[in-house]
C-alpha cells in the first residue's frame, strides 16, 4: 500500500496529465489561447458531481454528461471567437470561466453546494468493487502474462538498440548484419557478467526452481526470480482498491493519449498545426479553418471535462474557488514547462508542477511568486519548454544519434538542421 497522501498526488498527476494535454491541443498544436481552461474543468467537475450525488445518476452517465456539457460550452464560446483571427478566444474563455465560477457560487446551492462547495460526491472507491484476493489459478495466469511481457520488452529493447546502432554504424561501414552481431555481443556480455558475479545475475532474473511435494500435491515454486516477483505483486497488491484505481486512471490516460495521437496524424490534426503556422496559407490550401479550429477546441474541452469528472470523484470536496484564474494559470504553466506541441512534454510538465505544488504548499500565497519565477526563468533559458515541440522518444533518439556520431567521428553538424518528420 502506498500511503493515502501520495496516492492522492499520483492520481492528481494522472488527472492533471489529461487536463494539460487538453490545453496543449488547443494552445500548443493550434496556437489558440484558452486562458480560462479551468472553466471546462469546473464544468466537468460540477456536472458529474451534481448529477451523481444530488440527482442519483449512475457514474458513467455523470462522466458522459460532463464531456457533453464541456463540448456544448466549447461551441458556445468557440463558435463566435474562432471565426475571427486573433486573440479573442483568450478574453472570451477568461470571462467564461469567471462567469461559471460566480454561477457555481450563486445558483442552486442545493445542487451545486454554493460557496462552500460540494462535499457529498461519492469517490471512485465507492463504485469500484473491492477485488477479491486472487486465487491460485488467476494469480498464476497474471504472473505468466507479466513475465512474458517483461521478457518480450527486454528482447524488443535489445533489438531496437541493435537496429539503432546498425543505422549509425552503416554510415561508416556498410554491413547488413551488424544488429545480429550486436545482439550476440549483448547476450555474451550478460553471460560473462553472470559468471563474474558467480551466478547472482541469473538468480535475480530466473530465480531458483524447486519441486515441493507437500500436502497440496506436487508444485513448482520459484525463489527470488522475476516470476516470483510478479507472483508476489499480483497476489497481494492486486486485491487492493488502490491498485484498481491506479489501473483505471492509467488506462484512461493511455486511451486519451492514443486518441490524441490518431487525431494528430489525421487530416484535422495536421490542419490544426498548419493553421497555427499560417492561417491564411492554410485557408488557401483548402482547409476550413473555422471548423478545424472549432473541432480542435471541442476535443480539447471535452478532455478537460473528462479530467474534471475524474477530479470530482477523486478529491473529497471541491468549491468554486478551486476553479479560479489561478487554476488556469497552473495548467498553462504545465503546458509551457513541458513544451507546447509535445504530448510527452505535457506528461512531464503536469507531473513536475503537481508535485511541486504539493512540495511548495508551505509557502502559501508566495507560491504564486515561485510560479512567476519559474515562468520567467523558462522564458529566458528554455523558451520552448523542457521538450520543445518534440516527443520524448524523438528527443532521446536525436541526442543519442548526435552523441554517437561524435564518437564515430561523423560531422554532427551535417544533420543538425534536419528534423524528424
Amino acid at each position: 500500500m502506498i500511503n493515502p497522501y501520495w496516492e492522492l498526488i499520483i492520481l492528481l498527476c494522472l488527472i492533471n496529465i489529461i487536463f494539460t494535454v487538453s490545453l496543449n491541443l488547443i494552445l500548443g498544436y493550434n496556437g489558440q489561447f484558452s486562458l480560462g481552461h479551468a472553466g471546462f474543468l469546473a464544468i466537468g467537475c460540477y456536472t458529474s458531481g451534481a448529477l451523481t450525488a444530488n440527482l442519483g445518476w449512475p457514474l458513467w452517465a455523470g462522466i458522459l454528461m460532463s464531456i457533453v456539457m464541456s463540448i456544448i460550452g466549447a461551441v458556445i464560446i468557440g463558435y463566435p471567437c474562432l471565426r475571427l483571427r486573433g486573440d479573442y478566444l483568450a478574453i472570451a474563455t477568461l470571462g467564461f470561466a469567471e462567469i461559471l465560477r460566480i454561477m457555481a457560487n450563486a445558483i442552486r446551492p442545493d445542487l451545486f453546494g454554493g460557496p462552500t462547495g460540494m462535499q457529498n460526491v461519492k469517490s471512485f472507491y465507492k463504485y469500484i468493487p473491492v477485488p477479491e484476493p486472487m486465487n491460485g489459478v488467476g494469480n498464476l495466469l497474471f504472473t505468466i502474462l507479466f513475465t512474458l511481457v517483461f521478457f518480450a520488452l527486454l528482447v524488443w529493447g535489445i533489438w531496437a538498440l541493435a537496429s539503432f546502432l546498425q543505422r549509425i554504424i552503416n554510415r561508416r561501414l556498410r554491413w547488413d548484419h551488424w544488429r545480429w552481431l550486436i545482439c550476440g555481443l549483448v547476450v555474451l556480455a550478460v553471460i560473462v557478467a553472470n559468471f563474474a558475479c558467480r551466478g547472482a545475475l541469473f538468480y535475480r532474473i530466473f530465480g531458483r526452481w524447486h519441486y515441493e511435494t507437500g500436502s497440496g500435491g506436487a508444485r513448482i515454486i520459484d525463489k527470488a526470480g522475476i516470476f516470483h516477483f510478479f507472483q508476489a505483486l499480483t497476489k497481494d497488491s492486486f486485491a487492493s482498491p488502490q491498485w484498481a484505481m491506479f489501473a483505471l486512471f492509467i488506462v484512461v490516460v493511455a486511451i486519451v493519449t492514443w486518441m490524441i495521437r490518431n487525431y494528430l496524424i489525421s487530416v484535422p490534426g495536421r490542419a490544426v498545426v498548419a493553421i497555427r503556422e499560417d492561417e491564411i496559407a492554410a485557408t488557401n490550401l483548402g482547409l476550413n479553418c473555422t471548423w478545424m479550429k472549432l473541432q480542435n477546441f471541442m476535443f480539447g474541452s471535452a478532455l478537460a471535462g473528462l479530467a474534471g469528472a475524474m477530479l470530482a470523484h477523486t478529491i473529497p470536496l471541491f468549491k468554486p474557488m478551486d476553479f479560479n484564474f489561478f487554476k488556469s494559470v497552473d495548467v498553462l504553466l504545465m503546458v509551457v514547462l513541458g513544451g507546447m506541441g509535445s504530448i510527452t512534454g505535457s506528461f512531464v510538465g503536469a507531473t513536475i508542477i503537481t508535485v511541486l505544488l504539493e512540495a511548495l504548499r508551505f509557502l502559501g500565497d508566495w507560491r504564486l511568486v515561485m510560479y512567476s519565477l519559474i515562468l520567467i526563468l523558462f522564458m529566458i533559458f528554455k523558451p520552448g519548454g523542457l521538450l520543445g515541440s518534440a516527443e520524448l522518444g524523438q528527443l532521446i533518439r536525436r541526442r543519442a544519434e548526435t552523441a554517437i556520431q561524435r564518437l564515430v567521428g561523423d560531422d554532427p553538424s551535417a544533420g543538425s538542421e534536419a528534423r524528424d518528420a
Binding site: R270, A271, V273, A274, R419
Partner: protein
C-alpha cells in the same frame, strides 16, 4: 498550344478594402491549357485579383466562373476543392514545419492515397531538390528552394488551374530562369496557369495571353508577343 474552352472567366470584377477601391471592374478569361499573365505596377491590383479568385477576398460586384460554375464570394476552402490552387505572394510557407509536412498539408484536400503518391512523384521529378530536403525545416531553405516548395505545395492540391503570384520574387537571375522553365514544363504537362509577374519580359515570352493592369483596370490586352512588341509596354515594364 491549342487553346481550349474558357476555364476561368472573370467578368466586371469590383473589389474594395473598406473605402479603398482596388479593382474597378476587370474582365478577362483563361482558356484551358493556356498561360495567362497579369502585369502591372506595384499596387495595380494584381494580387487582389488572385486573392479574389481563390476566395480570400470578397468582391463587391462581378462574376467569376470556373469550369462553368459560379465561384465568386464562395469560401476559399470550397473553391479550392473545385481545382484551383494559389501559390501566394511571398510564398507563405509553414516555416516551422518540415518540407515533407508542408507537402502533406498541401495534399490534405486530396483524399485518394494513390493520387497523392502520384502527385508526390510529379513534384520530385519537377524539383529533385525538394526530394533531397524532405526532412529540412522549411524556414531554413534558401529563397529559391522556398519558391520551389511553394509551387510544389500548390501542385499537391492537384489543381487544374494554378495561380502563381510573383513566383520569381527575390530570386537571382539564373533561378528566375529556372522557375520560368518549370512553369513552362507544368503547362506542357497539362496545367493551366494564371501568372502574376514583375519580370514582364520573361513572363510575356512564355504566355499566350497577357493583360496589363493599372490602378485596378485592365488597360491593355493581347498575346504575349504583341505586348512585348508594344512600345508603350516596352517603356513602362520592360525597361525601355
Amino acid at each position: 498550344m491549342d487553346a481550349g474552352q474558357p476555364l476561368l472567366v472573370v467578368n466586371d470584377l469590383h473589389v474594395a478594402y473598406g473605402a479603398v477601391r482596388a479593382l474597378h471592374g476587370i474582365s478577362f478569361a483563361v482558356r484551358d491549357g493556356e498561360i495567362v499573365t497579369l502585369i502591372g505596377a506595384n499596387g495595380a491590383g494584381k494580387s487582389t485579383t488572385m486573392n479574389t479568385i481563390i476566395g480570400l477576398v470578397k468582391c463587391r460586384q462581378g462574376k467569376i466562373s470556373f469550369n462553368g460554375e459560379e465561384i465568386a464570394n464562395q469560401p476559399a476552402h470550397q473553391i479550392v476543392h473545385k481545382g484551383l490552387a494559389l501559390a501566394p505572394e511571398g510564398r507563405r510557407l509553414f516555416l516551422n514545419l518540415t518540407v515533407r509536412e508542408n507537402l502533406e498539408v498541401g495534399g490534405l484536400v486530396t483524399r485518394d492515397k494513390g493520387r497523392k503518391q502520384d502527385l508526390l512523384t510529379e513534384v520530385f521529378t519537377l524539383f529533385p531538390r525538394i526530394k533531397e530536403r524532405l526532412r529540412q525545416v522549411a524556414g531554413t531553405l534558401s529563397g529559391g528552394e522556398q519558391q520551389m516548395l511553394a509551387i510544389s505545395r500548390a501542385m499537391m492540391q492537384d489543381p487544374r488551374l494554378m495561380l502563381l503570384d510573383e513566383p520569381s520574387l527575390g530570386l537571382a537571375p539564373n533561378l528566375v530562369q529556372e522557375i520560368f522553365e518549370k512553369i513552362r514544363y507544368l503547362n506542357r504537362e497539362g496545367k493551366t496557369i494564371l501568372l502574376v509577374e514583375q519580370n514582364a519580359y520573361q513572363a510575356l515570352k512564355i504566355s499566350q495571353q497577357a493583360h496589363v493592369l493599372e490602378q485596378g483596370r485592365i488597360v491593355m490586352s493581347g498575346t504575349g508577343a504583341e505586348l512585348s512588341a508594344n512600345p508603350k509596354i516596352k517603356e513602362a515594364y520592360l525597361g525601355g
